[in-house]
Amino acid sequence: MARKSFRRMIAKRLINVILTVFGIMILNFCLIHFMPGDPINNVIPRTSKFDPALKWELKEKFHLNASLPEQLGWYLYNTMTLDWGTSYSLSARPVFDIIMTDLRWTLLLVGISTVFTILMGMAIGAYSAYRRGGAFDITATSTSLFFYGMPTFWFAMILQVSFTQPLFGMDWWPQLPSSGYYDTDRLGSELKFSWPILFSVMKHLILPSLTLAIGFLAGVSLMMRSALIDTMTDDYILTARAKGLTDYQVLRHHALPNGMPPMVALIAMDIAFVLGGAYQVEYVFNYPGIGYRTIAAIGDLDFPILQFIVVIGGVAVVVANFIADMVLMYIDPRIKIS
């Protein structure tokens, strides 16, 4: 019985995921196709080598003469078959290749800067809530609020400039690379596995991931703190105290298990914000990930890249939420289907 309802619950979530992904694709299609201007004008290279008469042939090729529903059909079909067309601006490279290459770097950046910070943020938040109003709590919370309210790109710029020149004339101040993903001048532009390249990649990751990590750390610890404080006011905590448990026992066995579920959902929802932050960080540090590509694509009005980046980002968030739901179901048996 229980097993059946559990299976149905997962099925319903899965249907929701599929519907949402479809929604993202259709919204995306509408946004891009109702943009002012004729999309074909962005396909045509604006140089003398191009014969304007080819315009009609190209229109035919991209199905731009078809009716809107037909175009939507083509778009959905192409998305499903991973035939994402070719970029307008990058000498006609396939979009799929471009996005997959960039995605690796973004995943590396986001991965490195979130995995440890989630744990650290939770620890800081939990301790703040545990010693609520104490010196640690006040320091941690105000620092977190300060970093949380900071524009990511601004913080990135500040960090960038702080580590590229000796700060206040201090000679021992560490100098870190502040642009690009590894030292292509010294190590060659071909990316292959070797220790110097790996070392260089790591070194180039420090500043971007630090920027992202500090902002995310602040967010997670604030969320953890308020989630725990919420649970700390519940009746069963009072009961636990009345039973004579120590503060630590209350925290470990009563508050934490109950404060966890909302955290999982909140962190999953925060993925969208982390992606937004990653965009800014990549832009400032010239880090060749998805965000950097997006902003370049907007400048070039490179719609094929743009529309699949939106789909990728959306799918990432949807999948993260789905996983969070699954985790929630696993750790919180009370969850009912909403």
């Binding site: 929604g23 604006r46 309210g149 710029m157 400039v161 308020s226 909302p262 937004g276 939106v310 959306g314």
Partner: protein, 492 residues
Amino acid sequence: MGTKQFTGTSGEASATVHLTGPTRLERDRRRTRPARFALALATAAFLSVLLISLAPVACQDESHVVSVAVVQDEPVADAGENLTVLAGEKFVLNGSGSTGIDLNYTWSVYYESRTKTYYGMVVELSFPKPGGSEANLTVTDSLNRTSWDEIDIVINEPPKTFLEKYLTTILFAGILGGIALYLVIVVVLRLRSGQPIVSVSRREKIQLASRRYLVIIKKVLRNPMGLLGVLVLTFFALLAIFGPLITPYDVKDQDPTQSMLLPSKEYWLGTDAYGIDIFSELLYGARTSMLVGTVSAVIASVLGAAVGLYSGYVGGWKDEVVMRLNDVVLSIPWLVLMIIVAAFVGKIDLTGIILIIGLTGWSYTARMVRAQVLSVKERQYVERARAIGSSEMNIIRRHIFPNTFPLIFANTILTVAVSILSESTLSFLGMRPVNEVTWGTMLSFASEASAFQTGRQWWIIAPGLCIVTVVLGFTLLGYALDEILNPKLRRR
């Protein structure tokens, strides 16, 4: 009219009771009907003004400039944005080259199924009839290398009638008139029925409400986070109101001879590329940044609250549809969504940026309000209201909304912080409102001028610190309000 029939059957006898004359309820209703009508009228007028002011309006300037950039050593025509002009209106197509290369300009303009060719950089045109048209610009340099680009020109019919031309004015007058009419009707009705203008119960209600607000304000001020937030925000609110009056220099006043100066006694933070004093811009930016933040947060909250109330209250498949749509909006990374909407809008002014942030930021509020409505809906007083026959609208207005309002209010304050951040990010990434000074546009220009590398670090640090402080102020106030208004309402 005014007759109530109660029919009951018991055994074989049936009785009908007639109550003649208007019941008290009906008397009340009849008395307030004109007032309600006036209120509805005023609301309708207000909504239509909103709709009209949101609708795209044709440009009414007299000239339009299409500039053509020539980049690299080879000419690359880039005609830029499409045009919307009024029929009969004169406008200028201006293909100005930005490098020293000698270029030949050819405009071929397609209009009314004919193509005319014009030679020369600057072409003055006017189209007598409404319709669509295309202008194609070709540039050729001395080595016969060519490049071309085209723009669409939409020609709108000029407003003909008085009504069309002065629609906004008339509607605004209508709103004010409607409100005045409403007040007059209410006062006259009260006077005629011999009631005091403000009834005792209403006065007591107002007193109670104001006392409650006073208590909340006191609590906020006693909360250290709230107090700090209020202090910070008061300072910046004063700056927003009086800042533009006390600026040492005019921020619209460009002075190329004084451009890119380092900080000095005259210019505390130096000047930017147009010779505008940066300190003045900083003071001025408080107004625009706070304006963008608050207005777009209010738009987002109103939209989110409406969507959340609706979908939470109606439930069922409508709720499912709305929530799936909401998921879609929530899933697309906010920055990308905003950038795409910005590209959609095209040329952005302050209203544009407010709309972009407001229209993309409602989904989180909607989700939260919906969750709250779902829990309020099941409470006993709602059931009671339904049992005594309150209408749906009434239940939402009298019971559901007041019980979600604290949540919405605290969330709006937090949204302001997010909106200010969004504005600065959009500006930094190049989607900045034209001819406006906000802290975001300052940062954007500063980074373009590589301020850090040229010893103008305050150009970047100062606006950033302002943003951080204001955002901190709103966040602190929002958290404090959240703690006070919704002690156990939400898990955050």
